[in-house]
Symmetry: C2
Subunit: 210 residues, 2 copies
């Protein structure tokens, strides 16, 4: 059982010049429970080297390591799984290549995609954007905590909420039924990554205890 | 045993608006013996769809289908192998992910890389650029037929020559000992792809008969 509480996703452009390794080490120290390597630029060789370092970090920390889109990178470094968007490898193909022991997550914009992902054998969905976000300028319109709540009611796999989530609104997302909160800028762009992750994690735990 | 004689590599920008499927169908009709899908742009989903169509085409034609760089795409469509550059997945990792039954090729600029590729378990090397080429502006300096001949003498796996090869110089490349000729622009940018491939194939066969 994966603890989806605080799912931190890399973004080289938002990291203030800090390496993914540096940012994620701090995020994990602050309480990140899952980590995703998301990199769209650079060579395959560079991605493998970076992912290998993050694999080592997450193994030592005992938390799951997910690779965005690139099943080849995930296989090369023995990641715990992949996360695929609607424009990436179809989930059933990713499942076939990774095998039953790995985690496959799917990004969904709406209920229909969430139901499809569940049917396709996804282990979890990343649902959103919940709120407006600058990280993905091409994202679909925000679904809000209401849209999220509907997805949480209708699918039985864990729903991780993503898109514009921060310390102000994380509690509402957990209250809507999300298994956890996925963040990019709220954590990786923070001046103090560890402290920010810690506060977010506390907010999530407090909201869940309610 | 793969017939490396005429190895045609896709390039969307050079194809005069024609689809990879259209260009490669004509190239195969003209005598291409191996096909490589090389695509650096677009989503993983688009690549899988394109590669799937090319997999079908090459299967019907009975010729090997190789995917450049992306082992995930190769696995998804059951390609016959991958071709990796020095900045792509290391050959031993590609071999591990693809299994022993698939073909792994490696791009090499010089003899040292060729010997390393052979040691890494590559099934063939793509050596070059032989001549100056506009297709890869970041390519290493041309090694010429002399540099090619040295690589052919020193490695025991097939050496496919690449870089600036056309109807004028293909015979010299075969004379230097190459198992075949890899072409991008000479074929995919040709107004009549089929006729061009046919002439190149004839030149290669004639050079080999000498």
């Amino acid at each position: 059982m994966i603890d989806w509480s605080l799912y931190v996703i890399t973004d080289a452009k938002l990291s203030r010049g800090r390496s993914h390794l540096e940012v994620l080490r701090a995020a994990i120290a602050g309480g990140a429970t899952v980590v995703q390597y998301r990199e769209k630029e650079g060579t395959t060789r560079q991605m493998i080297e970076e992912a290998r370092a993050l694999r080592e970090l997450t193994r030592q920390a005992g938390i799951p390591f997910i690779v965005n889109d690139r099943v080849d990178i995930a296989l090369a470094v023995d990641a715990d799984g992949v996360h695929v968007g609607q424009d990436d490898m179809p989930a059933p193909v990713a499942r076939r290549l990774l095998g039953p022991g790995k985690t496959v997550g799917v990004s969904v914009d709406n209920l229909e995609q969430a139901l499809q992902a569940e049917q396709d054998g996804a282990d979890y969905v990343g649902a959103g954007p919940i709120f407006a976000t600058l990280t993905k300028p091409d994202a679909a319109p925000p679904i809000g905590p209401e849209g999220l709540a509907e997805i949480c009611r209708r699918v039985s796999i864990p729903v991780v909420a993503i898109g514009g989530i921060n310390e102000e609104n994380a509690a509402a997302v957990i209250a809507a039924g999300a298994a956890g909160v996925a963040v990019v800028s709220a954590v990786v762009a923070a001046p103090d990554v560890e402290a920010t992750a810690r506060r977010l994690r506390e907010i999530i735990e407090a909201a869940r205890a309610r």
